[in-house]
Symmetry: C2
Subunit: 239 residues, 2 copies
Amino acid sequence: MIASQIDAEFLRYLLAHDCQPGTRLPSLDEISAEVGISVGKLREQFEVARTLGLVEASPRKGIRCLAYDFLPAVRLSLMVALSLQRDAFRSFASLRIHLETAFWDEAVVLLLPDDIARLNELVARAQAKLTYDRIQIPYPEHRQFHLTIFNRLGNPFVLGLLEAYWDAYEAVELNTYADYAYLQEVWSYHERIVKALEAGDTATGKELLIQHMRLIDKMGVAHELPVPMSVKQTQGVEL
Amino acid sequence: MIASQIDAEFLRYLLAHDCQPGTRLPSLDEISAEVGISVGKLREQFEVARTLGLVEASPRKGIRCLAYDFLPAVRLSLMVALSLQRDAFRSFASLRIHLETAFWDEAVVLLLPDDIARLNELVARAQAKLTYDRIQIPYPEHRQFHLTIFNRLGNPFVLGLLEAYWDAYEAVELNTYADYAYLQEVWSYHERIVKALEAGDTATGKELLIQHMRLIDKMGVAHELPVPMSVKQTQGVEL
DNA sequence: TCAATCTGATTGATCCGATAAATCGGAATA
DNA sequence: TATTCCGATTTATCGGATCAATCAGATTGA
């Protein structure tokens, strides 16, 4: 029924054969014979499935199904948007801020003690990186910090979108921006957020989340809050 | 720079050649020669671009670029999820509710008099459909009502996700459910929402939006609010 | 002279077969 | 028994043939 919405024999085949993670599929020749299209046409549709992260393949090993993941489709479309539209990152960043704020209450009540411990560990590692003689940008910690908070939602669409945000963040090279004072302040907020979560104070945590997104670096750029393009152009920052 | 994130010669070609809507591309043979891969391999990547809604093609007319659209990628991935995971619709519905609520304030202040007129027209058409001797389900009006409110955001990602929600709504056939009393109540709320918008009362409009999503039909199903699976199973409703 | 029809060219769509590359499991060997 | 080799499997890529859709210009008839 839903498969009828999908105009590709191979994708319908995947759904009809209950494509569970790890399942090995027949060879391309066999699938071609079963669904009634040539191997060439099948490979075109196979490439779509692979690009969407539904399957993986290598010579001799064959084709295997992967676990469903919203991210590949979102990430590819978003990368295209970032190339074609100058304010695509700002738009997606706006979406991300609203998602984190909107799902905050649902997400933080699901956090386990392990998660809180993980968040504390990330804060410690980030602060250590900012204390070394040779400063390292705690970008992986930043990414993991935010994704860990929302992970327990178990909502593949929300998680996929948030992960795509960080991939875009890297693509526009915000992760390489080394403003020491800004980063110190960001991680000070992160530390306070975790303390609020430990105290069960989700409202304060949310308020700190919102405040910390408004932080600006010394160039006047809010890394996690999209400012209007006109402000950005005046300051000569390219995004 | 961003194109380097994209592992397909044809997609990189599209981005490098400033693929603006309406632009006609060279033939497959010519692109194949330019990017240095065979026509067969090019067609595989072309199928991905087509599936993402980046280009369209027909024999003799050639290949043309389309305007960027987040929807095709989201819709396809979502359709796959709906087939593979039983609570995918519920997860996506949760995302949609939060998006509408989160972006409400930004969206309604952008509405033009034409938009308010359009919303009134949609309410009138829906109520007419519910008044005929032979009731017609005002599904297209319902979809357009919600999409019109958020259209002026100009955020392609938010709009794409909201459109995908309605495509999923159709795919799970919620649009065919004809509970007269429920629909009457839904459209009563819609009418009140437009009246609140006309009065400039965005807070009341938002409250009505949230309330109307909690409406349940006579089977106990909230069409726009995902209830936990256990409640659904008890009531024998399949989704 | 203009409208209708036809046709060759263009170009995507689909198919088929050949070859290269990656990988694995079983046979052979030390 | 461990290591190496090799044939088989199967994906990856290429090139060519044919079909189908569409268009612009030529031809024909009124």
